[in-house]
Structures are given as structure tokens and as C-alpha cells.
């Protein structure tokens, strides 16, 4: 009997066979190695902060702080002090080492790809006298939005991601308590994707409406052009990026009222595979011109038809997390998406897409943005002598 190599590599039998191999090696490894992925660490030092180009971890916590005014220090000195403390501890915790003065050092030994990403609000940047990137400003409230102050804005952003919620909780506690004299927490949002190992690496996540989310995203070689800030205009920010963070609530009770076909027409993709309604596989290019009986197969006001970039410059990195928090008494769900995007220019990359969606997206009936923030993500720290924002604050 001959085995067709191509069929083996692509067919269902191959998946079974590959699964068997993985399982066997997993068992073999477990006899030798006494740890799982807990000791996996993402590099901290480099031209960019980790947590953006990093393959999305299973959990993410986003925290915003406002700088407390003090009589004893200038705001600039206070911000520098916060960034120095965060740099020292983030470098240690992401490497699996306890923070300085860590009261729970045992919680630091399993970073599980922990990343800490720090940003400054455009308002704070302006107060510090920095050149604020032109498009870094609070977004307006779009038509369907119901923005709440408690989920919006802030002077400082901490994005803490990792594959283990325990190391995230520890990092969150350490980084928060160490700046409590200088900054007050404004909001905190915790999110999750599929658990690590639950699926093949690189699989698009599903949001809690059941849709495959994040199919169209940037390739690694597109980050320089579409994500990282250049040094030509904004001193001290080269290698950083602009982040939009929108908290999007899902109305699952009314979404439930829709039949499956209506849900698929709303999104423009099938629910099972995530394929566009004109294709077979998730990665198939949607054909927006295809019509049956004169009616477009993908409705023009479906989510993917409007979210689709009209030219290459309308693309940005999406790195969303689901949230599923405790509902208010009497409610059945408090569910949605922490929609985090990263781009060089919000005006040219993000806004055109957002304006189309705000105006026409069929999904708007079941989704509502309740929080909106913009942060300037600082460049990375290149060596242990440096600290986050050093160049910006020295200038």
C-alpha cells in the first residue's frame, strides 16, 4: 500500500495521525520535563514593547490610571518615576523573576509568556509638552455608541497579557500597588481568548457571539508600514504605536432571537467555519460582487463588507479579547469584546473603517461600544540601563 504524501499532510487522516504523534511526544516529554508552558517567557528588551506583535496570549488585562497631582514633584517627574518602577518590575516579572520587594515571589516563577505593555494618554502627553502624534486624540462618540466615563480615557495604560491568569494577577497587583502613591486606577478590563493549547496555534479566536474573529489581520512583515511609529515626526516615540481600545458590549439576549441564517447574513460569514458566504474556508477572499437572483450573497451592510479595507492603508492590527463579567442582579449576561487595535495613524487607518461600521453595520443592533480610549504606546526598552519613555521624558 502506498501512502499519498499530499493527502496525508492535508487530509483528515493526517490530522488524526499528527494528533497521535503530538500526544505521544507529549507523554514522552512529560517523563523528562517537569513543567508545562509556565516557564515560557517573551523577550522584554527590544525596539518595540512586547504584547503587540506577540502572538496573542490567552488572557489580557487592561488598566488605565490617572496621575495624582502632588505638591512635592512635577507631573513629569511623577510620570518618570512610575515608568521607571514599571520598567524594572516588568523586565523581571516577564522573565519569571520576582519583582523588586516582591511580597509573593513564588507567584513570579511561571510567567507563561507574560507581557507588560505601557502607553500614555494623549492628554498626559500634551501636558508633558511632548509632540503628540496628530491622530492620537480621544475618538468621538459614534452614532451607535453609548460611551461611559468609567470605561474611557486615562493618563496611563497598562496592558498585561499572558497564558496564565495567576502570573497576570500577580503582575497586576505588583505594578498597581507600586504606583499607588502617584496614580489612581481609573478602570480595569479583563479579557480572555481560547485557553492555550485548546486549539492549533494561530487559530482565529471566536467571540462570544460565536463568530470567528480576527481572520483578516496583519502579516509580520507589514508592521513597519502599518503599526510602528517612525522617528521622523515624533521624537521619543519611534518604535511605539497608537492604540485604540473600545469596550463593545454584546446584546446576547436579542442576538439569540435571530435564526442562524440571519446571524450569518449580519456578519457576512458562516458561523461554523468562519468562511465568507461566498467561500468555503475561513481564509477565502470574500467576493462582494457575487449575487444570486440579483441579490448580493454578502449583504453590503454586513459586518465584513463594511469592515473590509478599501485600500491597503486602511488596515491595522487587531488583538481583541472577550470579556464575560458578572452581570448586574436580574441580568443574564455582561458580555462583549475588548477591541484593541494598533496602528501608526488612527485617522487614515482606523477611522474610515470605524465610520463605515458606525453608520451602516448590521451588527450594530446587537453590539454597543460602551468604552473608548486612545493611548500612545511607548517604544520598547533596548537595554537594562534604559526605562520606558526615557527618551520622551529627557527631550
Amino acid at each position: 500500500m502506498r501512502v499519498n504524501r499530499r493527502r496525508l499532510l492535508t487530509g483528515g487522516a493526517a490530522a488524526l495521525a499528527a494528533g497521535a504523534v503530538v500526544t505521544a511526544s507529549g507523554v514522552a516529554n512529560s517523563a523528562v520535563v517537569d513543567h508545562g508552558f509556565g516557564t515560557d517567557a517573551e523577550p522584554f528588551y527590544g525596539p518595540h514593547q512586547a504584547g503587540i506583535a506577540t502572538a496573542p496570549q490567552a488572557h489580557g488585562v487592561f488598566l488605565a490610571f490617572d496621575v495624582k497631582p502632588t505638591d512635592t514633584r512635577s507631573e513629569r517627574d511623577t510620570v518618570a518615576a512610575i515608568l521607571r518602577l514599571w520598567t524594572v518590575d516588568a523586565a523581571r516579572l516577564t522573565a519569571g523573576r520576582p519583582a523588586v520587594a516582591d511580597t509573593e515571589p513564588e507567584l513570579a516563577t511561571r510567567p507563561a509568556r507574560l507581557t507588560v505593555t505601557v502607553g500614555l494618554g494623549p492628554g498626559l502627553l500634551g501636558r508633558l509638552g511632548a509632540t503628540v502624534p496628530r491622530s492620537a486624540r480621544d475618538l468621538p462618540e459614534f452614532g451607535p455608541d453609548r460611551l461611559q466615563e468609567r470605561w474611557s480615557g486615562g493618563d496611563l495604560l497598562l496592558q498585561i497579557c499572558g497564558d496564565d491568569p495567576v502570573s497576570i494577577a500577580h503582575a497586576t497587583r505588583v505594578l498597581t500597588k507600586n504606583v499607588r502613591a502617584m496614580a489612581v486606577q481609573r478602570w480595569r478590563q479583563a479579557g480572555f481568548r481560547n485557553a492555550r493549547g485548546a486549539d492549533r496555534q494561530g487559530t482565529s479566536m471566536r467571540n462570544l457571539m460565536g463568530q470567528v474573529d480576527g481572520t483578516v489581520n496583519l502579516a509580520p512583515d507589514e508592521f513597519d508600514e502599518l503599526v510602528w511609529l517612525g522617528d521622523e515626526v515624533y521624537p521619543g516615540l519611534a518604535g511605539g504605536t497608537l492604540m485604540v481600545l473600545r469596550r463593545i458590549e454584546m446584546q446576547l439576549d436579542t442576538w439569540d432571537e435571530l435564526d442562524r441564517e440571519s446571524k450569518e447574513l449580519t456578519v457576512g460569514r458562516t458561523l461554523d467555519s468562519g468562511a465568507p458566504l461566498t467561500g468555503q474556508r475561513e481564509t477565502d477572499e470574500p467576493d462582494f460582487t457575487l449575487a444570486r437572483n440579483g441579490i448580493p450573497v454578502i449583504p453590503p451592510n454586513s459586518h465584513i463588507a463594511l469592515a473590509r479595507h478599501r485600500h491597503d492603508g486602511e488596515r491595522f492590527l487587531r488583538r481583541p479579547y472577550n470579556y464575560d463579567d458578572a452581570p448586574e442582579p436580574g441580568q443574564t449576561s455582561n458580555t462583549g469584546l475588548i477591541f484593541a487595535t494598533y496602528q501608526r495613524d488612527i485617522d487614515t487607518q482606523f477611522l474610515p473603517v470605524q465610520q463605515r461600521l458606525a453608520q451602516f453595520d448590521a451588527l450594530n443592533q446587537w453590539t454597543t461600544a460602551i468604552g473608548s480610549s486612545v493611548f500612545v504606546i511607548l517604544p520598547g526598552v533596548r537595554s537594562p540601563e534604559g526605562y520606558l519613555g526615557q527618551e520622551l521624558l529627557a527631550g
Binding site: T72, R73, T78, A80, A81, I82, R84, L85, V88, A95, V100, A101, T103, K177, N178, V179, R180, A181, M182
Partner: protein
């Protein structure tokens, strides 16, 4: 990768220890003060912590310390009295850092006490501290100030203060 580099470095040091004709170093040259930090305080007194590591062949003894932000600096230990109540007091013998070993300065244990602060120590700032060894050498360190609520034992001076 990083771990193997550390192992290699440690092995190299161990090999160096086997060489009979090593140079004589001052204590300050063989001792490093790892992860130094100070507890934040506006006035009064506060403490400096960290890990003293001695890569030399002889024990190193720290006998005193100074800091530009404190009128007086003492080397302290924390000890429980007959009732089990912990107090801190000057450690007359100073801190010994064993050859090839370390001595930890931590809340609830030995620490360097900065007294009569001349300026507030605010979180995120750096404080200069210089530790002096009994061979006359000295080691300057920069301790990062941290907001830390622990390590607040009662202070029991070596001799009763003259309050007059």
C-alpha cells in the same frame, strides 16, 4: 540560553576559585549589592534592603553606611524580645557576607536604617547609599525607592536617646 550562560559564569567563577595565585581584592571589589531598594518615607527614618553577594575568597564585613539623604545611618537587625514582640536595634557586629555566599537585607531582618531623613524619599526615585567594609573599602549603590508597607518594627536605640 540565559540559564546556560549563568551556569557557565558560575562554573567559571568556581574554576577561578581553584587557582592558587589569585589577586587580593578589597571587600568592596568582591561584594555586589543586588536589587537594592529603599522603603518610601516623607520624614523620619526608613530602611534599605537588597542582597549582598560576595564572590571573593574571604568573608566581607560591613561596618557602617552613609547616605546623603540621612543625618545618621545604622546597620540594624530585627529580634524578638521575651514576649515575642519584634523590635529592631543596631547590630553591633555589622553584616558579615560569607566568602562565596550572600547576606540578605530584607523587611523583618537585617537592614540599613536611614535616620533623620533630610528629604522625602518618593517612590521611583533613586537613593545613594555607601556601605563601608572593615578593610576600609567602600561600595556605593543606588537604591530604588519603593512604596512598601511592611517592615515597620519598633525601633529600640542602642542607648536611650537624650531627649533634653
Amino acid at each position: 540560553m540565559r540559564n546556560s550562560a549563568v551556569v557557565f559564569a558560575v562554573a567559571a567563577l568556581a574554576l577561578a576559585g581553584c587557582t592558587p595565585q589569585h589577586e587580593e581584592h578589597t571587600m568592596a571589589q568582591t561584594v555586589t549589592f543586588a536589587d537594592p531598594w529603599a522603603s518610601a518615607a516623607d520624614t523620619g527614618m526608613t530602611a534599605v534592603f537588597g542582597t549582598l553577594q560576595n564572590t571573593g575568597h574571604h568573608d566581607a564585613h560591613i561596618v557602617s553606611a552613609t547616605s546623603p539623604v540621612a543625618e545618621m545611618v545604622e546597620l540594624h537587625e530585627v529580634a524578638a524580645d521575651a514576649n515575642g514582640v519584634k523590635t529592631m536595634r543596631p547590630k553591633e557586629a555589622g553584616f558579615a557576607v560569607p566568602a562565596g555566599g550572600e547576606h540578605e537585607l530584607a523587611p523583618g531582618g537585617d537592614h540599613i536604617m536611614l535616620m533623620d531623613l533630610t528629604a522625602p524619599l518618593q517612590p521611583g526615585a533613586d537613593v545613594e547609599v555607601t556601605v563601608m567594609f572593615d578593610d576600609g573599602s567602600s561600595l556605593p549603590v543606588q537604591a530604588q525607592v519603593r512604596d512598601f508597607p511592611g517592615g515597620k518594627e519598633n525601633y529600640q536605640p542602642a542607648k536611650p536617646h537624650d531627649r533634653g
